[in-house]
Amino acid sequence: MSEQIEISPLTRVEGHGKVTVHLDNGQVEKVTLSLFESPRLFEALLVGKSFHEVPEIICRICSLCSTVHRVCSLMAVEKALGIEVSKQTRLYRELILYGGHIQSHALHLFCLALPDYLDAQGFADLAAKAPEELKMGLRIKAAGNLIQERVGGRLIHPVTLIPGGMGKPLDRDGLLELKETLEAVLPDATNTFELFSTLPSAPTSLPTARFMAVMSDEAPMLIGERLETSDGTAFQAEEYRERLREDVCEGNNAKISLLDGEPVTVGALARLNMGTWLSQEASQSFLESKEKIIGADIRANSFSQAIELIHAVERSLQLIDSLLSAGIKKEKPPAIAPRKGKGTASIEAPRGTLIHSYSFDGRGLCTEADIITPTAINQAAMERDLLHYARALEGAGEEIMKLELEKLVRAYDPCISCAVHVISTHSQKRISP
């Protein structure tokens, strides 16, 4: 007798998705993950738009990650047009990226993930059950948001970041305000790490993940040209089309990205496994809890985010100090001459590796746009883990199965709006809603 268990809609994740477990006589046959976000058609919307407009439009792909989309897009545009930006601009960009990491990790940890451990339905419930923890999380999140608001001029869809430079840079007083705020939440970040260290870890093990992250030999560490995996593969971001192939999986019309034919996992857990650089206090926390992270499955992702929170706060403070000691200059962004070209950039977004790639014609109008998001990359691993975990949960009853599988999806911290944005790579088929 065949039956289905449906988790629909997936809650406390960004966007619209569902999981269906297909059972036959109580045995799990398959599990499908469908992302039924409406088609966004961004790559088609961008074609014909000028290079000035591209970053402003594309950040609307997703609100949780608008900052990193904006920066990644700017960097790809600048590469295509051969523009260099000043050191000051680079520092501000790195600072705002960390602001994005702080807000995104804090949102996921406290509003989306924590309720699972405290038998709460969401933040409203948490406000009653664990008010102090929620407030702590919101304080951290507010600090990340303040960085984005002040540096970017707006915290969702930042406005000051433009090709070649930026609008009015945040002044000394503004930087001092950020410094004070960040110093105040550093203990909160450490407490978050403590809090998440005490949460029970999951019993059954999932298949060993293959991790991938953007690696860079110099600061800013989140940005780089080289992608590396935990099993020793390395390639340049520009080669992503040859390496990160898309495949249709049976029973699901979604397209998923596979690296050389295999699923890869990106995000905080992947970064820590790949040994990306950590600030002092964060690396201490990491060393203390290394065995919970190295080679762990995705359920250690939240915990990894907690370690990265400490890093993001500390690194932001360093960046602010560098900016302060150099003195803020009002720089006029260069006049940019359009030219024909193509540029690809990759950045570690809060949820993992993000790639933007654009081509422009001689008038500076976009002829092709392509975006690979962390959630699209993670989707194959997510499906593999869901199947594995569902099998381990056979016989546990529908309620537990639903709860646990949803928690697993949540551990990946998916961003469905981002994933279902789709591209125009020649005749390739893409994720469908």
């Binding site: 997936l10 039924f36 409406s38 966004r40 058609l41 088609a44 407009e53 915290l155 949803e406």
Partner: protein, 252 residues
């Protein structure tokens, strides 16, 4: 007093309007206390998807049969429905190429799979249902969301500015990007309420809050043409958040 029952949902969108609520860190615990969340998948698990709702606050454009179904369902369950953000109010980013055939756009992206995709030109709510109130912005300003929630507790809606971004910009004594720097700033045409956020940091207004009532489109276009911008450029920018400038807001 009984807590107002609210629903917060999204259609074709980036979730930015919903996130704006979660970004009200200082106020969130109190919001959680004062309202009952009947349906808010982005923020809470569970909830009752058929209970009666006092106010539905919905983001996004309507671009698929599913979107439309969700919207109609929410409308019929709710006493009041708020169009939350520029996509809901004007169509927004998703609608910027509504002047091109939808099938061409879908095919450009999905190739031969495009035939399976059920989608139509993204449109704002008022083309399908009665909308009781709107909060503009891409994303909306936190203070406008919070004012709306506070007013709802008092059984009313707030009054938002009915003048252009330019007015706020002049009040802040910013350097005028349009006149002095010859930039393609849409400030004169756009509904205020953001306190001229972008020009205040030296960036031209991209028009994210949509048209102000009685926007003088002809005068702005003429000015920009005289400054050397092409009609194509001007239209591309104006269509970014609102595909149909001749339509006046149903709510103004």
């Amino acid at each position: 007093m009984k807590k107002p029952v609210i629903a917060i949902a999204g259609l074709t969108a980036c979730s930015g309007c919903q996130l704006t609520l979660l970004n009200c860190e200082a106020e969130l615990p109190e919001v959680a206390e004062r309202f009952e969340f009947a349906w808010f998948p982005m923020g809470t698990t569970g909830g009752d998807d058929c209970a009666a709702i006092d106010v539905a606050i919905v983001e996004g454009a309507v671009s698929t049969p599913d979107d439309l179904e969700t919207l109609l369902r929410l409308r019929s369950r709710s006493r009041l429905l708020v169009a939350f953000g520029t996509c809901a109010l004007w169509g927004g980013i998703a609608a910027m190429k509504n002047h091109e055939p939808r099938t061409a756009l879908t095919e450009a992206v999905y190739g031969e799979m495009a035939v399976n995709i059920r989608t139509f030109n993204p449109a704002p709510f008022h083309q399908f249902i009665k909308v009781d109130f709107a909060i503009p912005g891409c994303p909306p300003e936190k203070h406008e969301l919070l004012t709306t929630l506070a007013s709802l507790l008092k059984g009313t809606f707030p009054v938002f500015p009915q003048y252009p971004v330019c007015t706020e910009c002049r009040n802040r004594e910013n350097r005028c990007l349009l006149i002095e720097d010859n930039e393609i700033c849409l400030g004169p045409l756009i509904q205020a309420g953001c306190n001229a956020r972008c020009p205040a940091v030296g960036i031209k207004c991209e028009g994210c809050r949509g048209p102000v009532t009685e926007a003088n489109v002809a005068a702005e276009t003429e000015l920009l043409l005289r400054k050397g911008f092409t009609r194509e450029e001007i239209e591309s920018r104006m269509r970014r958040f609102c595909p149909e400038w001749d339509l006046s807001s149903p709510l103004l």
